[in-house]
């Protein structure tokens, strides 16, 4: 085990090279619906139990299943209304279980990125060959069912090893959603030397963290999203920033929650100098236009790690 993940160098927010988004937008705004499948009776990982109750954990399982049966279609309706294309954090086995949902996302030209195969299969304890096999399986499944080359990664249930980024970059990935250290994209060091970056995904704006961990009221979540946007929008006048709202239809898709979220989305998309985009588009743009300059600046300012 190491003191520091070794993935990036300390790089203070002030005095960085200016990021210029397309059309001089201040904020690159993206929404990441998690479309997940949780297994009722998954294989056991000795490092983490899948469910708090003995199998069948009816309540935990049904809570997640609600998203697939009810929530996604509600959320799609709202995102369609405000012209937002989702960047899907996908449990790739859902391609087999629920192809109807995949079809609806394809019709909307949404992006699919890997969130593992199931959200009940954890990376903890995998050796390199096993983790590579899981990552390659997910990438191949996305390609087969959607035609898309997977660009992004959010580890299943946010479970990692020390080489997760290395392996995903070697499988052709260009960005990770697993790091919460910044409001701008940053280079991430991988052993292949590939250009690989972090695209801010935000746990603070993540509906599950908000509702379940922090137990926030639905209307207050809407206010938090607006406040988050207001500050980033102001700072974005100096240099482009990223704002992400990660969602779970089994949370935000409930009848008492969706309206407050919709109002926040209406507010954000009502601003003209916002780049409403996807994770892949941010990553590709940053790598093409900002990456080299960022690396030089980090080197110039003297890495401490």
């Amino acid at each position: 085990m190491q003191e520091d993940p070794g993935l990036y160098d300390y790089w203070p927010y002030e005095d960085r090279p200016k990021i210029r988004w397309p059309n001089d937008a201040r904020v690159a705004f993206w929404v990441a619906p998690n479309i997940e499948f949780y297994e009722l009776d998954p294989a056991v990982n000795p490092h983490r139990a899948a469910w708090p109750k003995p199998v069948p954990d009816v309540h935990g399982y049904a809570t997640r299943d609600y998203g697939n049966r009810v929530g996604h279609m509600r959320l799609m309706r709202v995102l369609d209304k405000y012209g937002v294309r989702g960047s899907i954090s996908l449990s790739t086995a859902l391609c087999e279980h629920h192809p109807e949902i995949i079809e609806l996302c394809l019709e909307r030209d949404w992006e699919f990125f890997s969130h593992g195969i199931y959200n009940t299969r954890y990376t903890y304890g995998m050796d390199e060959a096993q983790e590579r096999a899981m990552i390659e399986d997910a990438v191949a499944t996305i390609k087969q069912h959607t035609g898309q080359q997977c660009a992004g990664y959010l580890a299943p249930a946010l479970t990692h090893t020390e080489i997760t980024m290395d392996l995903f970059a070697e499988a052709g990935g260009i960005y990770t959603c697993d790091l919460f250290h910044d409001d701008q994209p940053t280079p991430v060091r991988v052993r292949s030397g590939n250009k690989f970056i972090s695209v801010p995904y935000s746990l603070e704006m993540n509906d599950t963290i908000v509702y379940v961990v922090n137990k926030i009221e639905p209307r207050r979540y809407g206010e938090m999203i607006k406040a988050n946007f207001d500050r980033l929008y102001a700072e974005g006048a100096d240099s482009g920033v990223v704002m992400c709202v990660p969602l779970h239809a089994y949370q935000v898709g409930h009848p008492h929650r969706l309206k407050a979220f919709e109002e926040a989305l209406e507010y954000i998309t009502g601003h003209s100098d916002v780049w409403v985009t996807t994770g892949r588009e941010i990553a590709e743009y940053y790598i093409e236009h900002c990456y080299d300059e960022a690396v030089l600046d980090i080197q110039r300012r003297g890495a401490v790690t």
Partner: protein, 309 residues
Amino acid sequence: MTLDKEYLEYPQRRYGMDHDRYDWSMLTDRKQVTWPDGKRVALWINVALQTFPLNQKGQPFPPPGGMSTAYPDLRHYTLRDYGNRVGVFRFLKAFDRLGLSPTFAMNARLAERYPYLAARIAGRGDEILCHGWDMDTPHFGGLDPDVEDEQIRRSLEVLRTATGQPVTGWLSPGKSQSGNTPELLAKHGIEYMCDWINDDMPYAFRTEQGEITAMPLSTELEDRFILMNNLHSEREYAEQIIDAFDFLHEESNEQGGRLLALNLHPWLLGQPHRIGQLERALEHIVAHDSVWTAGASEIRAAWKEAQTA
């Protein structure tokens, strides 16, 4: 610790669910439901009438709202008992004033201990569901099927005798089930259960003893979840119920009948400082002509009829 080869094998990776209990379907793809008289939102209010033993075993897990101090936990015992003595009667007044037809999910042991309450509820003619034996008798994975069979048989027998009702609905304590619970419920004459909260509408659920209906009784909108788990205020409780209703009401405009299922605990919302917020939310809902207030069996029957219409 390394992982076995089988950790990367996925035997249930296939079309549909990873089990055979129910068919996979999206709400938007299903046949639209029309409630009686063209009503748009069915309001199902369920009151959980519970008894929490002072000598709680808490095995294999304690019930939500159960005893939590060293024995004797008079604090929590009496706080819960308050619901059966005081809170529920505040509820009844409010329901009657607003013309609502709630259901009551009752622990069988409570009917045995407080026959007055069982008779009072049964005398109203409102539907009574079985809420298991008591709050400290959970159904869970690993429970001996013979023990569970007897647990269900006895609970239903006691409650049917005490209330004179057929009792065809079931709500497990803590909404917890074993892998055998659905079969055992069907075997003992249960027609619908409320534990699977994966939908906003009823759906067909398969058991080896024949099909029963899942009637999802929302946890996210439950008073215990909002007030006690999330620590939201009473006012916020009412706002969330109102927002949920308004949303479903609007959705029903294009997608057919919707169900708003509210589970209430008299030991929580029956407190003097909370009841007013419950009344405020219910007043908002019943002010709409398009609301059908009904019991779970009536809603289930209307839903079933719509499936074959």
